[in-house]
């Protein structure tokens, strides 16, 4: 395959994506081919060295946002159907079926994300509440020592110190847990995206 044929094929395979994504991808590969040729390879070998076209297409799509991918998938299915009228009729007739399904799908994704963020938010709220009550308790305890009685004041200070200790103790685990959760959301996003990308093996 020559460089021009390769770029043509790639453009064709990515056709459902926005034009700037196609341009970025083709200029990246065309630059690599040119560099390989400059390095002493023949054009044919340079194209061959890029590897499997399916993998190139899949990897080009993985970093694209979900709405764009969904649109691309719909466009691809439309272009596969030669009869435009039939496609529109099917979309209209199937509306009661596909619309609730789509909404459910989006709602499930939303709920997962909201749950994760609420979990993170509440964890931080706990840390913050413990920290504030710790500091307030120490100040209040000192005041109580003078205006009420020494035992009450000391007891309050003791409780406040416990709060401070707990804050210090859970801050790092909470941070690590948040990091893990954010990684988990990234993993979910990739899994969801893979639904809209053709089922080909992906190495990275």
């Amino acid at each position: 395959m020559t460089k021009i044929e390769f770029i043509k094929e790639l453009t064709f395979r990515l056709a459902s994506l926005p034009q700037n994504e196609i341009d970025k991808s083709t200029s990246y590969y065309s630059e690599i081919i040119d560099d390989r040729v400059e390095d002493g390879m023949t054009e044919e070998d340079a194209v061959k060295a890029l590897g499997d076209m399916d993998l190139i297409v899949t990897n080009a799509m993985y970093e694209i946002s979900l709405p764009v991918l969904m649109k691309a998938r719909v466009n691809a299915s439309r272009s596969k159907m030669s009869n435009k009228g039939l496609w529109i009729t099917l979309v209209v007739l199937g509306f009661p079926l596909w619309f609730p399904l789509l909404m459910t799908f989006l709602a499930v994704i939303l709920v997962i994300y909201v749950t994760i963020w609420i979990l993170i938010l509440s964890l931080y709220a706990v840390v913050l509440a413990l920290g504030i009550s710790g500091i307030a308790g120490i100040i209040g305890g000192i005041v109580l020592c003078f205006i009420k009685s020494l035992p009450v004041g000391l007891c309050t200070i003791g409780a406040a110190l416990c709060c401070c200790a707990l804050t210090l103790l859970i801050t790092l685990p909470v941070l690590a847990f948040t990091k893990g959760l954010i990684r988990f959301t990234a993993w979910i996003a990739r899994k969801i995206k893979s639904i809209f990308i053709s089922k080909k093996a992906v190495t990275v």
Binding site: K24, S25, S27, Y28, Y29, E31, I32, D34, D35, R36, E38, D39, A49, L50, G51, D52, L55, I56, N59, A60, Y62, E63, R183, W187, V202, T203, V204
Partner: protein, 110 residues
């Protein structure tokens, strides 16, 4: 190797190379491949992700009558390298823990 782990490694490798000097696609692959297996189609999404995370920027330079895209690391990219180094310390301590346990277990057997 685990896919997520490899992605993390590759991102760090790309940033490390760019931290030394600005570079372009093919050169990045040549620089990184002795250390870890990387192909053009693997590098592409990594560059894209780093770019969307503002960890690198790009500019074009004319070379032999065509344009070549150079990538430049940003401050956020340098921070990411530091994050990676710190994370690595944790991973190493876990590794040492696992290996120490295994060795002591083997010694016990003997």
């Amino acid at each position: 190797m685990d896919i997520q782990l490899k992605r993390g490694f590759l991102e760090a490798c790309v940033l490390a190379v760019l931290d030394r000097s600005d570079s372009y696609g093919y050169q990045l692959i040549k620089d990184i491949s002795p250390c870890i297996e990387i192909s053009e189609s693997t590098l592409y999404p990594i560059l894209k992700r780093l770019e969307s995370g503002d960890m690198l920027s790009d500019y074009s330079v004319e070379h032999n009558g065509r344009l070549r895209k150079y990538y430049k690391i940003t401050d956020a990219g340098r921070e990411k390298i530091e994050d990676f180094k710190n994370e690595w310390k944790e991973i190493m301590s876990v590794y040492n823990f696992i290996m120490a346990k295994k060795e002591s277990g083997e010694n016990d057997k003997n």
